[in-house]
Structures are given as structure tokens and as C-alpha cells.
């Protein structure tokens, strides 16, 4: 019965979505390739000992650029989703920390900047060394950027364009990239997800309204574009063999696994509240056969695909019956907030006891606009 209600809710939501789509002022222009007012880096990792990543250390280089000819300010939030005991998986007895730490950056006209998650960046005008030595601190420092709050650290970074007084603005001047650099010098790089600001409706308060038609918290309606209604991931079935390795006849065996990172669009940095989002997955294999499963994302979720809907390992090649699949993800009901995400593939080849791993990150595809909108609540004034 509950399931039937859920299905009806999805159907009604879809119909509602179709209608609201005509009038909702927030558009579905979350983007990974245009300058925006909010940047979301869904997946950051720092792990000097490889505790969370099979013994391979990892750190993240973050790049942000100002694409305008004016000075730009941004208010950034790290969200630390590392479990309290990092050596054990997240669970009721080992919750994620969901701790936010925020800081501000300033970029001059067209200025690119970067920092490393593990060390942050000092605001030191005297550290401009030549690139013949180490120029990793050369350039105008964007401000004091704190290092990751723990080792290991897993979580998210969100940067919001503000004016010189700290009030959010819809400048659409920021772009960003994150590079996960592993201990073997393999790298996975993805573009930050950008949420475009709407120029006429941003009231500059600490409640940022992403899409939707307004409400008590959003008296001026949508201030930013809406999060997508559907995310699509095209992927290998879990543990499928790598066709390139097979065609080249390299190694004894190979397999591909995919890690999916999802973060809710709605975040409350003021009250540190993380409402859970139930995400439905619709999987289509190469034979057009469909499967579905679901999971709950609270604050930050990072899953190997074969741990989603873990009964029967639905996304494994043995269950799906084909090497490639398309997975569409949608919040279970319109009331659930939207999600954003990124995927990372791990290709492994084995030969005579040795293992080589190739890694690559991919941005997800987004379609549609969430009808009810999402809200990011910033810490208020003291």
C-alpha cells in the first residue's frame, strides 16, 4: 500500500512537474561548463594513508577562476562527511560528521587560483617563488584557505558568489574544477557544477532559493536556477571487464567499477540540518530491460554502484546481463530535495599478482527542473 502511494506520488509529481514547468521562474540550467554564481564540488578526498581507498593515498587540487573583468568575492563551505571513526563504514554507531567550515576568497579580474585540499592556502604575499623551484604558492593569494578538517577527509565544497559586504549576488562569474590525484599519480578530474543566479530576483539574504515558485522563505521567488529533476549516469555494469584491455589482450583479467557521489541541493549551514533525500534509480541495460532500486542520501553519499540496493547486487554485470547500462536518478517525491553528483570509474587490470588501476571522473547529465525548488541556508549574521 505504501509502495502504491509512493508510485502515485511520483506520477502526480511528474504531472505537477509538467504543469509547473510552464510557470516556474527557475530554469534547469545547472551546468558544468558555464560560469555560475554557486559552485558545487560534490567529491573531495584527502587520505594520506589510503585508509579509505585501498591503501592508495589521495588528495584534491581545487581550481576556481573569476571569468569577469571585475573583482569577485565568494563565500565557500567545506562539508566534512568523514565518519567519526574513519576506519569503519558509516552507520548508526558511526555517523558521518557533517561538519561545515567556511571561508572567503577574493579573485581579481579574470584571476585563476588553486589550492590543495590537504594544506589549504596561506595569505602570504611573500611566498611568490619561481616556478624553477616550487611556484605552487605564486600568484595573488585568494585569502586564507583552511586545510581539510581531518585526515582522512571526504566531503564537499560549495562556493557562493557574494558582494564585498558578503551578501549573495547573481554575478555568474565563477567556474571551477577539482582533480583527485592518487598516490600513483593517476588523476580524475571533473568540472564543478555551477548553479546560475537569476539577476532580478536575488534579495541578497542568507536564504538562497534554487528554483521553485516562492514561499515563506523565498518571498522574491527563485533566485537561482533549479536543480535538475533527473540525473543520468551512463556506466559500465559493476565488475564488467574492460573491453580495451580485453581487445589488447593485456593482463589476466580486468574489471570496471564505478563510484557515484550524490549531494542534496538543499543544505542548511545555519542549523546544520541535513534532510535525507530518497533517490530512485531506473536502470536500462543494452537489451532495453529495466530494473529499479533506491537509496537514501543524507548530506553526502558516496556509493560503489554494486552497494546500491544491495539485495542481489542489482547493478553488477551478472544481474544486468549486459556490459553497459544507463541509470536515471530522480528524487522519490517532489517534496524530496534535488541531488547533484559526479561519478568516478576505476578500471583494474591484473597480471601475475600485480594490479594496475586507471581512474576517470565524469560529470552526470541533468534534465528537467525540480518543481518545488531547493534552499541553501547560509549562517546568519552574528
Amino acid at each position: 500500500m505504501g509502495r502504491a502511494r509512493g508510485v502515485r506520488a511520483v506520477a502526480v509529481g511528474a504531472a505537477l512537474f509538467g504543469m509547473v514547468g510552464w510557470v516556474a521562474p527557475g530554469r534547469a540550467d545547472v551546468t558544468t561548463e558555464r560560469s555560475a554564481s554557486i559552485l558545487v564540488f560534490p567529491k573531495l578526498m584527502f587520505d594520506s594513508t589510503g585508509l579509505l581507498s585501498d591503501g592508495t593515498s589521495v588528495d584534491t587540487v581545487i581550481q576556481i577562476s573569476n571569468t569577469s573583468n571585475s573583482m569577485v568575492f565568494a563565500h565557500c563551505f567545506y562539508l566534512n562527511a568523514t565518519p567519526v571513526d574513519a576506519s569503519r563504514p558509516v552507520g548508526p554507531s558511526n555517523p558521518a560528521q557533517w561538519q561545515e567550515v567556511d571561508f572567503e576568497i577574493v579573485l581579481t579580474k579574470q584571476q585563476p587560483t588553486h589550492w590543495v585540499l590537504s594544506s589549504g592556502r596561506l595569505d602570504d604575499p611573500t611566498d611568490n617563488r619561481s616556478c624553477k623551484d616550487d611556484c605552487s604558492t605564486a600568484g595573488f593569494d585568494p585569502g586564507r584557505i583552511p586545510p581539510a578538517g581531518s585526515d582522512p577527509f571526504i566531503g564537499e565544497l560549495r562556493c557562493i558568489e557574494v558582494d564585498s559586504s558578503g551578501a549573495p549576488i547573481s554575478g555568474n562569474h565563477l567556474k571551477g574544477e577539482a582533480t583527485l590525484v592518487w598516490g600513483d599519480a593517476q588523476a580524475s578530474k571533473y568540472n564543478a557544477i555551477g548553479i546560475l543566479g537569476l539577476t532580478d530576483s536575488n534579495n541578497g539574504d542568507s536564504v538562497l532559493c534554487l528554483g521553485g515558485g516562492g514561499g515563506d522563505n523565498c518571498p522574491t521567488g527563485a533566485e537561482y536556477n533549479a536543480c535538475p529533476n533527473v540525473l543520468t549516469l551512463n556506466h559500465f555494469a559493476e565488475l564488467a571487464s574492460d573491453p580495451v584491455v580485453e581487445a589488447l589482450d593485456h593482463g589476466d583479467s580486468s574489471n570496471v567499477t564505478t563510484e557515484l557521489t550524490l549531494v542534496p541541493c538543499t543544505q542548511d549551514f545555519e542549523n546544520q540540518v541535513a534532510p535525507p533525500v530518497v533517490v530512485q534509480f531506473l536502470i536500462t541495460n543494452e537489451f532495453e530491460a529495466q530494473f529499479s532500486t533506491s537509496t537514501t542520501v543524507t548530506c553526502w553519499g558516496n556509493f560503489r554502484l554494486n552497494t546500491i540496493g544491495n539485495v542481489g547486487r542489482i547493478l553488477e554485470v551478472g544481474t544486468l546481463g549486459s556490459r553497459f547500462a544507463q541509470t536515471r536518478m530522480v528524487p522519490a517525491t517532489p517534496e524530496d530535495g534535488g541531488v547533484l553528483g559526479v561519478a568516478e570509474e576505476f578500471h583494474e587490470v591484473r597480471e601475475d599478482g600485480s594490479v594496475a588501476t586507471g581512474r576517470a571522473a565524469l560529470n552526470l547529465f541533468g534534465d528537467g527542473a525540480r518543481p518545488l525548488g531547493d534552499v541553501i541556508t547560509l549562517p546568519g549574521a552574528f
Binding site: G18, R27, E33, E177
Partner: protein, 411 residues
């Protein structure tokens, strides 16, 4: 919680409602943006690399290399694609040597001549179907395919079996473009395609594997704008009428005039955030270089006449210091960024030693000439390499649009 398909009738209805909602609203709001994170009617893979037979491998970094192409139909109806390989592999004509490994090795009187040769094929996809193939091998129905090689398990009824041509030579450097068509090969306004490419480099001794993946660039169709001919018009402004010279996406936008645009316009500028070449990655302590691939948005598959576009590069370092350079691009260009302005990388303004900071922002602009038959916008891709390490591909950022249209001329 897993649920078998047999118990999913109502869920399937709900899902279809969601998907239809997306498609309907998507139709109402045909976005004007070329994008690599949205479904589209044209998907462009700017960089396809194959080097599996030559010994030693000729394409840097030296490894046996192949590209896996993945395309998905995200609609609930079957769709066909007309796909074009563009072979941009340079050949040493009149001399001895390889232009692939290094143009200098093609000694005079030899000269490196890019081929700019297209070959095309048609693929049919069922509703929601994901497919994949190796650029080196193409793909055939699974019943005819060697074990382990990607193949086509299912195709829509009453259609000939899919047969993807492999790239025409090995080594190969070039691009792939696929266009949504109907069963008669006529272009259709269906933004139902998503694509990814994975460039996989593998070596035996020592055992190594490197994967660089990127999303194909999608060019969306404007609904109600396609005249079904073999000239695909991307972007443009109203011709005549009360809104002359203003951007348009459908005939209704141009009262009294004509809207030429059938597809989204290509971006006015490309923006690349990059490490300067030779910079030391602060995490791995390895030297980083970046390859930039640029292709013109306009492509003439009919007359095989490539367009040459002067390209301006505006570079900013982390001190807000500005540099610029330029270079022409014809059909396809893949260059280490520190070879854009010079063959001596250490002297390039894209080198860390010259720029003086670790990272930079480069704005890339094709120079327009106002010619009515072609535009000069560009599409591109970047791939970052760490010395003795792995690579990572990533999409460029887009900025703005142009009044001039770009065109794809189909045979």
C-alpha cells in the same frame, strides 16, 4: 530495496510520467546552449585516438591506446544516428617518417599532410538503450562479434543490423560526430542522445592502465525549426522582420522575418583553466602538461572542404597578468598548450617558467569573418598528463553566443 521488473507495472508508469514530464518541459524550453551535460540531437566527440598496432606506439604518451565510445538514447522511443568519423591523422607525403609521433621526423622533401577524410555509418538504438564500441574495431551484432568485444545485442524491429565502421587507420587521431536522424536518415529534432568517450592507454611491461574520460559535447535541436534538409544550421539571428539581428530559436521569434537556426549555437568563447605546462603538481610532485584539442563547429562533409579559423588565445596567470597569442586551426588541432605559440615549450607563454604561476585561465576565440556559409566558432577538449602518471580529460567551459550561424553539411 530491489524489485523485479514483473512487479513494476505501476512504477514503470510513474517513471514514464517523469520522463515524459522531462521531455515535454524540455521541449517547451529548448535550451539554446551547446552543453556536455544535457541530452542533445548532435553529439560531438572532439578527440578519438587509436594506436594499437604500431611498435613502438607512435602517439604520445607511448602506450597501446584505444577509445571506447558510449552513446545512450534517453528517450522512450527508438532513434537512429548518422555518425561521421573524421580522420585527421597526418601523413608524411613525399618523404619518410611519421608525422604522428613528431612532424619533424617527416624529413624534407616530405611534408605532413592531414587527411581530413570522413567515413560515415548509421546506428539504430532502441528506447533507452545504451551502446558502446571500440574505435579500433567498430561493432557488429553480438551474434557475429568476437567474445569480449562490445557489440549490439538488440536493434529496433524492421531495420538492418547495426554495423559501426572501425576508424579507417591505425594510428588514428580525429573526431566523431553523431546526428539524430529518422529511419530515412533525415535529421530529426530529438534531444535524446548522450555520449561519453574513454581514452584507454595500456602497457604490458610494466603493467599499467590509464583512463581519460569525457562527456561528448551535445548540440540541442530547436523544436519546430528543422527543415529536414542536409544543411544543419547551428545558431543565428532573425533575418528581416521586426526582430532582425536578434537571437532566435524558432520561426515564432522572428515575426515578419525568418529564423535560420535549427540547432543551438556554438559558444562565442571557450574557457580553459589549466596548469601551465611544466608546472609541478603539488600533490604528486610530477610535471603536468595539457593537450588542447580544437575543432571547428562548422563541418562540410559534403565537399570535404575544411574551414580555416584564426584562433586568439588570451591567457591570465594568478597575478592577473595577461598574455595573448594566436594560431590557425583547420579541421582538427591537437597540441600541447606550450606548443601553441612555439615549438620550444620552455619559451612558451603557456610554460610555468614563463607564466610564473602554477595555474592559468585561457580564453579561446575563433575570429569571425562574416562569411555566410560558415561560422568560426570552436569546440574543444583538454587532457592533462602527469609525467610517469595518468591522464585526465575534461570539458572546456563555454561563454556567450554569436549572431553568425555555423553549419554541418551532410552528404
Amino acid at each position: 530495496m530491489m524489485r523485479a521488473r514483473a512487479r513494476q507495472g505501476s512504477a514503470a508508469v510513474a517513471w514514464r510520467a517523469v520522463v515524459c514530464g522531462v521531455l515535454v518541459v524540455g521541449a517547451m524550453r529548448a535550451s539554446a546552449d551547446v552543453a556536455s551535460d544535457r541530452s542533445a540531437a548532435i553529439v560531438v566527440f572532439p578527440k578519438v585516438v587509436v594506436d594499437i598496432s604500431s611498435s613502438p606506439p607512435q602517439i604520445a604518451p607511448p602506450a597501446r591506446t584505444d577509445t571506447l565510445i558510449r552513446i545512450s538514447n534517453v528517450s522512450d522511443q527508438a532513434i537512429s544516428l548518422r555518425c561521421f568519423w573524421t580522420d585527421a591523422t597526418p601523413r608524411c607525403v613525399g618523404g619518410v617518417g611519421s608525422c604522428v609521433s613528431d612532424p619533424v621526423s617527416c624529413a624534407p622533401p616530405g611534408v605532413c599532410v592531414p587527411q581530413w577524410q570522413e567515413t560515415d555509418f548509421v546506428v539504430h538504438l532502441t528506447a533507452g538503450q545504451p551502446v558502446a564500441w571500440l574505435a579500433s574495431r567498430g561493432a557488429v551484432p553480438c551474434a557475429e562479434s568476437p567474445r569480449g568485444v562490445p557489440c549490439f545485442p538488440a536493434i529496433p524491429g524492421n531495420l538492418p543490423p547495426n554495423r559501426v565502421l572501425p576508424v579507417p587507420e591505425d594510428p588514428f587521431v580525429g573526431e566523431l560526430r553523431c546526428i539524430a536522424v529518422d529511419r530515412n536518415d533525415v535529421p530529426v529534432e530529438r534531444n535524446a542522445l548522450q555520449g561519453q568517450a574513454e581514452i584507454v592507454r595500456s602497457s604490458d611491461a610494466p603493467l599499467s592502465l590509464d583512463v581519460a574520460a569525457y562527456n561528448a559535447i551535445g548540440i540541442p535541436a530547436y523544436l519546430g525549426a528543422n527543415d529536414k534538409d542536409n544543411t544543419l544550421v547551428m545558431g543565428g539571428v532573425c533575418v528581416g522582420g521586426t526582430r532582425a539581428q536578434l537571437p532566435c530559436t524558432s520561426p515564432a521569434d522572428c515575426p515578419g522575418g525568418r529564423c535560420p537556426a535549427e540547432y543551438g549555437g556554438c559558444p562565442n568563447l571557450l574557457v580553459l583553466d589549466h596548469f601551465f605546462d611544466g608546472a609541478v603538481d603539488p600533490v604528486s610532485k610530477k610535471t603536468v602538461t595539457t593537450d588542447l584539442t580544437l575543432i571547428p563547429c562548422t563541418t562540410d562533409y559534403l565537399t570535404q572542404a575544411p574551414v580555416t579559423t584564426p584562433v586568439q588565445f588570451l591567457v591570465f596567470n594568478e597575478f592577473e597578468q595577461r598574455f595573448s597569442t594566436s594560431r590557425s586551426v583547420t579541421c582538427f588541432s591537437e597540441l600541447k598548450i606550450s606548443n601553441i605559440d612555439t615549438r620550444t615549450s620552455e619559451r612558451s607563454l603557456f610554460s610555468a617558467a614563463v607564466a610564473g604561476t602554477l595555474t592559468g585561465q585561457t580564453r579561446i576565440r575563433g575570429v569571425a569573418d562574416g562569411h555566410p556559409d560558415h561560422g568560426h566558432t570552436l569546440l574543444g577538449l583538454a587532457e592533462e598528463f602527469r609525467q610517469d602518471g595518468g591522464s585526465a580529460a575534461f570539458n572546456l567551459h563555454f561563454h556567450g553566443s554569436r549572431p553568425q550561424s555555423d553549419f554541418i553539411y551532410l552528404p
